[in-house]
């Protein structure tokens, strides 16, 4: 790892076209190589940049964007900064944003969960005046120290994403963005649970139900996807919620004429946490989805 950093940041502004995705990816790969990052850190930077820039290309500047929601022909801005401890990638647009977009067949909505899986921190903000800003952080220093303590076998498994703590954690600022992000995380929860692609459609209904009540949130919405009690389970946790917010969301999963959406989950739990940081205390709702048995 080079001692030199890119604290001032490197900034790239390119047209929001498919061609620009590879250009953005090569830029961050070049920065990563220049900083002497490892193969997996560079790969993660490239994946985050590719997914975020693709989101902008797909969703930020639709031809049919309503008046006043952003430019119709726009740009994507990519900034990379960091040092020997952490690298940040910021991708922003000033368009319509993907906040109102639903996961599409083009990506199955996997982009955000993938980014959240490989980044130590992922934040999405709806920008004032239009557009979305995504900030992803990779803790290169922590990873380096952790690798030094691992056996080669542990290192290989963790780098491939087979073990480790949370699979994905996203902090959402601005309630507009919550539903599509929840939909994507629930989608990957279902994917890891071995549900079929068609069953993914059900998960969209769940995400609608969970994101419907803006009055249940006690702070910035935090969505975490982790392995459950065993590796066959995926656990999606949302919070912090106000007192009674968890039960209110569960009650909201009763849809007249459809029945309870609770049957899509193997278990739903509400717990109260004090939180590690200010603003994290409150109720948390966890949904467990298990892979079907091979028997």
């Amino acid at each position: 790892m080079s001692e030199s950093g890119v604290e001032g940041g490197i900034r790239l502004v390119v047209p929001a076209t498919t061609d620009s995705v590879a250009i953005a990816r090569q830029l961050v790969a070049g920065v990563g190589d220049a900083l002497g990052l490892g193969e997996f850190e560079v790969a993660d930077l490239k994946l985050i940049t590719s997914e975020a820039a693709s989101n902008v290309v797909r969703h930020a500047y639709p031809d049919d964007a309503p008046e006043g929601t952003g430019e119709r022909d726009g740009v994507v801005e990519i900034c990379v900064s960091g040092d020997s401890e952490k690298i940040s990638v910021t991708v922003r647009d000033d368009g319509f944003g993907f906040a109102l977009a639903q996961p599409s067949g083009e990506s199955l909505g996997l982009g955000i969960p993938l980014m959240a899986s490989v980044a130590e921190r992922l934040e999405l903000r709806v920008r004032e005046g239009g557009g979305v800003e995504l900030v992803a952080e990779i803790a290169v220093g922590e990873r380096r120290r952790s690798r030094e303590e691992q056996t080669p076998e542990q290192r290989d498994r963790e780098e491939l994403g087979e073990i480790g703590g949370d699979l994905a954690q996203v902090t959402v600022e601005g309630e507009l963005a919550l539903q599509p992000i929840l939909a994507r995380l629930i989608g990957i929860c279902a994917l890891r649970g071995g549900l079929t692609v068609d069953q993914l459609a059900d998960t969209l209904i769940v995400s609608d139900a969970l994101s419907a009540g803006a009055d249940v949130w006690a702070g910035e919405a935090m969505v975490t996807l982790a392995e459950g009690e065993d590796e066959r389970q995926a656990a999606l946790t949302i919070g912090p919620l106000v007192e009674g917010g968890g039960q209110k969301l569960i009650d909201g999963m009763e849809i007249p004429g459809v029945g309870s959406l609770r049957k899509l989950a193997d278990d739903l739990r509400v717990e109260v946490r004090n939180g590690d940081a200010p603003g994290e205390a409150g109720e948390y709702l966890t949904m467990l989805v298990a892979a079907p048995s091979d028997d």
């Binding site: 498919t18 790969a43 693709s54 067949g105 990506s107 780098e159 994917l191 692609v197 892979a291």
Partner: protein, 122 residues
């Protein structure tokens, strides 16, 4: 800017081979879907050789799942070949998305062709 290449080769009696090389993203995902459709139009099973792929993102995962999921009963079978020596970046995306839950993934071309043959015997 295309950073990836897709070639369609006749793999003999059992399947066509889509050989992917380089980096694949939104700019090649439509080409990948079109290559699948061309094989399916000729009623040919497909083996996708990803040995020389350096990078994929979710647009490629979505194209593979859409074209290769087993419940597409009208389409011929599809198998992916991702050897242990394939790009770590590709294997990581495959692992994180649970791609193997959706389609047949094997570690060698022989095994991928074998899976296609087994599928045809059923």
């Amino acid at each position: 800017m295309r950073t990836g290449q897709i070639d369609v080769n006749d793999g003999g009696e059992s399947a066509d081979v889509l050989t992917m090389r380089g980096e694949h993203d939104l700019s090649t995902s439509e080409e990948l879907r079109a290559a699948f459709r061309a094989c399916f139009d000729r009623d040919r099973p497909v083996v996708v050789d990803m040995t020389a792929v350096d990078f994929i993102d979710s647009s490629i995962v979505a194209a593979l799942v859409d074209c290769g999921k087993p419940d597409n009963t009208d389409d011929p079978p599809v198998a992916l070949c991702i050897p242990p020596g394939a790009s770590a970046s590709v294997r990581r995306v495959v692992e994180l998305t649970g791609l193997a839950n959706y389609m047949t993934v094997r570690e060698s071309l022989d095994d991928a062709f074998g899976a296609i043959a087994e599928d045809g015997d059923e």
